[in-house]
């Protein structure tokens, strides 16, 4: 049977690849390297990534709440992010299993058998598995098109995906990752003067980190109300990716969790 061997969390800011390329000593470079080492040490056969499209793969003509990418491969970024373009293998069989199991557990998932991805998936791939040998499994969580899924629902989806992985027959080692910000406003009224984006709720970032460190995921789910996430900025819903990831790996404390001043954090959950 398959099992989950690692949990990861990281940002996907579209400027990170070029910033790190120009400043190899940048703190984010070291943190992403730490995650990459953890992923390689875990000898994972597949990497499930909970992340969110930014109106690039999908648009409001058919915007899914939760979607599973179940194709042989994907590619990205599809949104002009300044970074290399990757062809990325997808763990299609595991994705199909997760999709079917999720539907039979009452999750109303959209099925994506042909798709490309934006920086939300391409940036993590760039830093963690640019070699193209690790199949990913994209789980798209709606973090942008109002109304967002409830935190309790995102957490339940993560739990269901965790169970589905553990019920998958092939003896796979699966890593699970979340990507996204805890507090970030892009282009909305809460941006700072002269800027296109900013971090409107640093206290919430600290609170999220505190609750994750203390393994108080239930409290995090309770406190991540629609109004709190909105207060954290129009990208504040990206926390839902982390909440889903925590549902998948279960009740564990992070081995490392580093908040950064940009409203996001890096984390590693490890138990072997």
């Amino acid at each position: 049977m398959a099992r989950i061997v690692l949990g990861l969390g990281a940002p996907h800011s579209p400027n990170l690849p070029s910033v790190v390329a120009n400043n190899p000593g940048f703190v984010e470079a070291g943190l992403y390297a730490e995650l990459k080492n953890a992923l390689e040490a875990a000898r994972a056969d597949a990497l499930v990534i909970f992340s969110n499209d930014h109106f690039n793969t999908f648009f409001l003509n058919n915007f899914p709440m939760f979607a599973i990418g179940a194709a042989p491969a994907t590619a990205g970024p599809n949104d002009g992010t300044p970074m290399p373009r990757y062809e990325i293998p997808v763990a299609e069989e595991l994705a199909s299993h997760i999709y079917s199991t999720g539907v039979s557990s009452g999750f109303d998932l959209a099925l994506c058998q042909e798709f490309d991805v934006d920086h939300a998936f391409a940036v993590p791939v760039h830093f963690l598995c640019a070699h193209g040998k690790l199949p990913i499994l994209p789980v798209f969580v709606n973090c942008f098109a109002s109304p967002l899924p409830l935190a309790s629902r995102a957490h339940a989806l993560g739990r269901a995906i965790g169970s589905a992985i553990r019920a998958h027959e092939p003896d796979l080692r699966v890593a699970v990752m979340a990507s996204g910000s805890f507090s970030l406003e892009i282009g909305g009224p809460a941006i700072p003067p002269g800027e296109r984006s900013g971090v409107p709720d640093r206290a919430w970032v600290a609170r999220v980190v505190e609750l994750m460190r203390a393994r108080r995921v239930d409290d995090l789910v309770t406190e991540a109300t629609p109004s709190q996430m909105a207060r954290a900025g129009n990208a504040g819903g990206e926390l839902l990716n982390w909440i889903a990831m925590l549902g998948a790996i279960g009740d564990r404390a992070p081995a490392m969790l580093a908040a950064r001043p940009h409203g996001h954090a890096f984390g590693v959950w490890r138990w072997e």
């Binding site: 930014h54 109106f55 690039n56 648009f59 409001l60 949104d79 002009g80 942008f144 109002s146 109304p147 967002l148 406003e185 892009i186 282009g187 909305g188 009224p189 809460a190 941006i191 700072p192 003067p193 002269g194 800027e195 296109r196 984006s197 629609p226 109004s227 909105a230 207060r231 129009n234 990208a235």
Partner: protein, 100 residues
């Protein structure tokens, strides 16, 4: 189609280089391809991003326009105008439609 049309206009500016070029050269003509109300066209032409946001358009999508200074929206201009939006504390989520 309202609001949706504004969001689609901004998204297409990012994804379609021809539309983007036309927004630069003849913004009024470019807008004819989108389901925009007369008011939305006026507000877009005026670069009044705060008013568009107040009507339900996505700030995230509107701010794409600054990437190419479309409709006169440099980051500086955009930021100053958007920060002037009214009644924006903690907006919460219904669907943004014509009715919002």
């Amino acid at each position: 189609m309202s609001v949706y049309g504004v969001n689609k206009f901004c998204r297409t500016a990012l994804h379609d280089r021809d539309v983007r070029a036309q927004i630069k050269s003849d913004p009024a003509a470019a807008m004819e391809k989108f389901p925009l109300t007369a008011e939305e066209k006026e507000l877009l032409l005026a670069g009044d991003v705060a008013a568009l946001w107040e009507r339900g358009a996505s700030g995230f999508l509107l701010s794409y326009l600054t990437r190419w200074d479309l409709l006169g929206l440099t980051v500086e201009v955009y930021s100053e105008r958007m920060r002037g939006a009214r009644d924006w504390r903690f907006p919460q989520g219904g669907v943004a439609t014509s009715g919002r």
